[in-house]
Amino acid sequence: MKKIINDPATVVAESLRGLAVAHADLLRVRDDPALVVRADAPVPGKVAVISGGGSGHEPLHGGFVGPGMLDAAVPGAVFTSPTPDAVQAALAETTGPAGALLIVKNYTGDVLNFETAAELAAVDDLDVRSVVIDDDVAVKDSTFTAGRRGVGGTVLLEKLTGAAAARGDTLDAVEALARKVIGQVRSIGVALTAPTVPHVGQPSFDLGPDEIEFGIGIHGEPGRERIPAEPADALLARMVEAVASDLPFAAGDRVLLFTNSMGATPQLELYLAHGIAERLLAERGIVVERRLVGPYITSLEMQGISLTLLKLDDELTQLWDAPVRTPALRWGI
């Protein structure tokens, strides 16, 4: 394992220190429990939008803290959900009478810890709601699994709910919007290599030189299917089919297409993939109205990409275009 680190035990804390130094105008960082908070929090009268989860997915979530998006991010250890007291600390620093929305990815650990935090918040008389995003079409949504995972759609959900909170929506309205977005966003991911978690020191799974994992999650957990590597046209056709047929997305639908690098896939390949995906969607009569291309929800240095499709309407498009100013996503301000 070659990584630019000192000690696996201090990776997250040292990285957060760097984030704080680099973006002191936007956010502040707290140690033990680790927390990334908007510099001007709490913002009076505004619903707080908070998310969190294991570290190693940067810029998710700390890179999305700032006006127009998150009020706080709660980072756990690498690929490990944060603890309930950390979520409580985030609530304490950001949340007033307007309440807070917790955005939780559907992974067992995240759900259990955030659920516990929300119960504790109720004891403190805070109005806290939580939504669980489960956009990954790779997982069969049945009682036989932990349910679909929350993956790429999380980035879009954080932007849209952040924009709704910024324009002054009530907690009821922000929560309703979040549920609407969760209902119409879908993703699929693919991995060419495995990530290496610092405290483990070896790749999270073993993949042959000509194999890829189709339907990968964001924690380096194996996907559902291992297939031989194939040219980009064939791979993207497989990915677009998996995502578009799920909702399903139909001819005439307006969508946001989010092509994401899982960490190590370079822009050269990422834009190549994005171009193919747009072409394939056009062939289906699906209208790509907005785009996001880049590494926004990653899995350490894993090579691979994910595709996320969100069905748009005028309101969602408007919220997407609304100003945002965070380390990783910034326009309009």
Binding site: P33, G54, G76, A77, V78, F79, T80, S81, P82, T83, P84, D85, Y107, T108, G109, L112, N113, E115, T116, A138, V139, K140, T143, F144, T145, A146, R149, V197, H199, V200, Q202, S204, F205, G217, H219, G220, E221, P222, G223, R224
Partner: protein, 207 residues
């Protein structure tokens, strides 16, 4: 050992040592079917717990277990933090003001722990989780109810071993391993394994 608060604290210290010894094994089990953090997370939680117990040992077994629960919940994260935290918390609640643990009380605590884990994680037997270790641990403990605390715990540990072994042949239906489906068959559930390890540590400390 005495089954006073000090005895329970000693059992937790023993558990911390066993977790540290098996850290890599648990990480490896989890690497194959999950995300490779189970050993790391448990180790972090038990290390913190031992540090807290160094500064104070609460007066009753219940209070010691409660302290263990809150430390695990606030230090472990992942799924294991809330699940083990809930197990210790529910066990603690069963013990009330008792100054000493006896076999009937211990069995009640084990039952409460199992029920707590099931309530929190929504898993049932056969899902390939720590519940598959806890169910046979409880029934083995009940079978040994006539013996000493040490004998009850030893029986529970052996039951948990068998349960952990049984997860090898199961298709996981909870947690991150569930995403693998059939591909997870042939691998032991890391949570079931750590449950067995903890019970062995408690049994060892009680001898």
């Amino acid at each position: 050992m005495s089954c006073s608060a000090e005895g329970v604290a000693a059992a937790l210290r023993e558990a911390a040592e066993v977790v540290a010894e098996h850290r890599s094994e648990l990480v490896e089990l989890d690497r194959v079917i999950g995300d490779a953090d189970h050993g790391e997370n448990l180790s972090r939680g038990f290390t913190a717990m031992v540090a807290v117990l160094e500064t104070e040992v609460p007066p009753t077994p219940a209070a010691v277990l409660k302290l263990a629960a809150t430390t695990l919940i606030s230090k472990v994260g992942g799924a294991a933090g809330p699940l083990y935290g809930t197990a210790f918390l529910r066990a603690s609640a069963k013990l009330g003001d008792a100054a000493e643990l006896d076999p009937p009380l211990l069995i009640e605590a084990l039952r409460a722990a199992l029920e707590g884990v099931q309530a929190r994680g929504k898993a049932v037997g056969g899902d390939a989780t720590m519940v598959d270790a806890l169910i046979p641990a409880l029934s083995a403990a009940e079978g040994a109810a006539g013996g000493s605390v040490a004998e009850v715990l030893a029986a529970a540990a052996e039951g948990a071993d068998r349960g952990a072994e049984s997860t090898v042949d199961l298709v996981p239906r909870k947690g991150r391993a569930s995403y693998l489906g059939e591909r997870a068959v042939g691998h032991m559930d890391p949570g079931a394994r750590s449950t067995a390890l903890l019970l062995h540590a408690f049994a060892e400390a009680a001898r």
